[in-house]
């Protein structure tokens, strides 16, 4: 069971909102880069987020660049999962490859600042503050297997290959 606070964002949060291209010089200095997480969407997010919290987006979360730094800095901020109405393809894959769950659900039912609880097994999210309960789309089995190992590289290390 994951429990934490919801940080809500709007639709079309791009990888440029999450880690702007202008900070490319910090990409080999990840702790420094992570201080700017989601800066162009909410400049106060990095200082407010706590371990276990959730990033809650609208539709098409993570569109844009293939930079894996985007889900990586969100993970480094301690975020335990990303919730969104829909997620851009490369971002979704990158997050799973890093072992960061991305859950597709109706995020209109969750309000900013609410405390929420995610039951990964049951596939449900309970908003403790407003009482709403939503279920999320199951993660495709092949991706679940990668997530279960903590990401793609640990998965390949364990199995030595892709296992269908």
């Amino acid at each position: 069971m994951l429990k934490g606070k919801a940080f809500k964002f709007g639709d079309n949060i791009s990888t440029d909102h999450i880690v702007p291209g202008r900070l490319a010089h910090l990409r080999s200095n990840l702790p420094e880069l992570a201080k700017h997480v989601l800066e162009d969407a909410d400049p106060t997010f990095a200082t407010r987020v706590k371990a276990g919290d959730f990033v809650v987006g609208g539709s098409n979360f993570g569109l844009g660049s293939s930079r894996e730094h985007a889900p990586l800095v969100i993970k480094m901020a301690g975020v335990s999962a990303i919730l969104a109405k829909s997620v851009a393809r490369i971002f979704f894959r990158n997050a799973i490859n890093l072992g960061l769950p991305v859950l597709v659900c109706d995020t209109d039912k969750i309000d900013d600042g609410d405390t929420i609880e995610v039951d990964m097994e049951a596939g449900t999210i309970q908003d403790i503050t407003n009482g709403n309960k939503v279920s999320f789309k199951p993660i495709p089995p092949f991706m679940s297997a990668i997530l279960a190992e903590g990401g793609l590289i640990p998965y390949i290390k364990k199995y030595g290959d892709f296992k269908l």
Binding site: G21, H25, R27, G64, S65, S66, E68, L72, I153, F162
Partner: protein, 416 residues
């Protein structure tokens, strides 16, 4: 039942009979990273693997910061050069040009699977390649294993017929399509282009359209490989790389979109999403401080030719910076030989070295607060050109040249 291009290529490369929705483990013909995604890719590779699956089909491109504007990126470049030396993989150093352009010019072969740690890897779809962007972990694993996994995408067929009006280009077509279906209109899907307009399109135009398919969320933007493809490869000295490839007539598509090219008008994306499109003429009067002609979308010789013909004997507006960045060294050389560079410089242009330049906001044309740019690039997200207080409009090279002359967004038909 026949196969779409995506199903065909992924079936071939996985040696299994796969259909939309299936998982395919496919051989990767080319895996690459660039200078802003490469360092993480290399770290991930070195954390777990010892050797490359195929050093001749692994490439590192130094193009995003070319030449580097600061010590951190210069040091990243050293890391990439050293990795190439150590492993023998290919290195495309500063000055050679943008990864997607070089992949198209000298590496992509119809029927290939190409993955790159850059979202616009889809560009090579213009040559009949299943090409898609992935993150650093995926590319690191493909570099080591020579393969990757795909969920075979459902395909949307986009049929385009009719002739473009004067002043309307492939860029207007793809901007129109994205405006129509939205920035997530093709998420997890492949866009397959067909129709007589597409058949007549040059490779340069096909690359422009394929390049931007990811802006509708698509996993790939695919074109059949035909005689035009053969001619292009032959001109690049790679006739041996040609093989025809096309979807089966009875392939199954989730959706068909029909576009009449003759009804299209010059189109512009407004800040801050690509699907926020309008006609150029509707935006008349919007003041533009900087025009960028270049990038992997529209930095080819055909694009520079259009811009040059419009700017010849004219001057860019005194309060509008005109920046030109050829997409590769080859293109720069061709532009010098054709006299384009002289004409453009006389018209007031600033010429940047081949590379990404101002496109992603690292250097060479960062916007000031509340400044607006009209760019021929593919993306206008907030902060994209280095300043979240800037405004980016996207258009064709013709719209960009017209706008450079007047200093405000201008329908190119007014200048042509």
């Amino acid at each position: 039942m026949g196969k779409t291009l995506a199903e065909k290529i992924l079936s071939n490369k996985s040696q299994t009979d796969v259909r939309a929705g299936d998982i395919a483990i496919a051989w990767v013909d080319l895996a690459f990273a660039q200078d802003t995604t490469g360092p993480l890719t290399i770290n991930e590779f070195e954390s777990s693997f010892n050797s490359l699956a195929d050093k001749d089909r692994t490439v590192l491109f130094l193009d995003h910061a070319a030449p580097s504007p600061n010590c951190q990126l210069s040091t990243d470049h050293i890391l990439l050069r050293n990795f190439a030396k150590k492993t023998g993989c290919l290195l495309s150093d500063v000055g050679e040009g943008i990864c997607h352009q070089i992949v198209a010019e000298s590496m992509a072969r119809p029927g290939d699977v190409i993955i790159g740690a850059d979202s616009h890897t889809v560009t090579a779809g213009g040559l009949g390649v299943f090409a898609t962007g992935m993150g650093s972990s995926d590319v690191a694993v493909a570099m080591a294993m020579g393969k990757t996994w795909f969920r075979v995408p459902e395909s949307v067929k986009v049929i385009v017929s009719g002739n473009f009006q004067k002043g309307v280009f492939a860029k207007d077509l793809i901007l129109h399509l994205i405006g129509l279906i939205g920035a997530d209109g093709a998420t997890y899907q492949s866009l397959e282009f067909a129709g007589d307009t597409i058949d007549r399109m040059s490779i340069s135009e096909r690359l422009t359209v394929a390049n931007m398919s990811v802006e509708a969320g698509a996993k790939a933007g695919l074109f059949a490989a035909d005689e035009t493809t053969r001619d292009y490869l032959t001109k690049q000295g790679r006739s041996g790389d040609y093989q025809p490839i096309s979807p089966d007539a009875d392939a199954e598509y989730v959706k068909t979109i029909i576009i009449d090219a003759s009804t299209l008008e010059p189109t512009v994306s407004q800040p801050h999403t690509v699907d926020n499109t309008a006609l150029a003429r509707e935006l008349k009067g919007v003041r533009i401080h900087q025009v960028l002609i270049g990038t992997c979308t529209n930095g080819r010789i055909e694009d520079l030719a259009v811009a040059t013909s419009m700017l010849k004997g004219k001057k860019s507006h005194p309060e509008t910076r005109l920046i030109i960045a050829p997409a590769s060294r080859n293109i720069l050389l061709q532009a010098i030989k054709a006299g384009y560079i002289q004409t453009l410089v006389e018209a007031g242009a600033i010429i940047l070295p081949p590379g990404c330049g101002a496109c992603l906001g690292l250097h060479q044309g960062v916007l000031g607060d509340s400044e607006a740019c009209l760019s021929t690039a593919n993306r206008n997200f907030k902060g994209r050109m280095g300043n979240p207080k800037g405004f980016i409009y996207l258009g064709s090279p013709a719209a960009a040249a017209a706008t450079a002359i007047t200093g405000e967004i201008t329908d190119p038909r007014e200048v042509l």
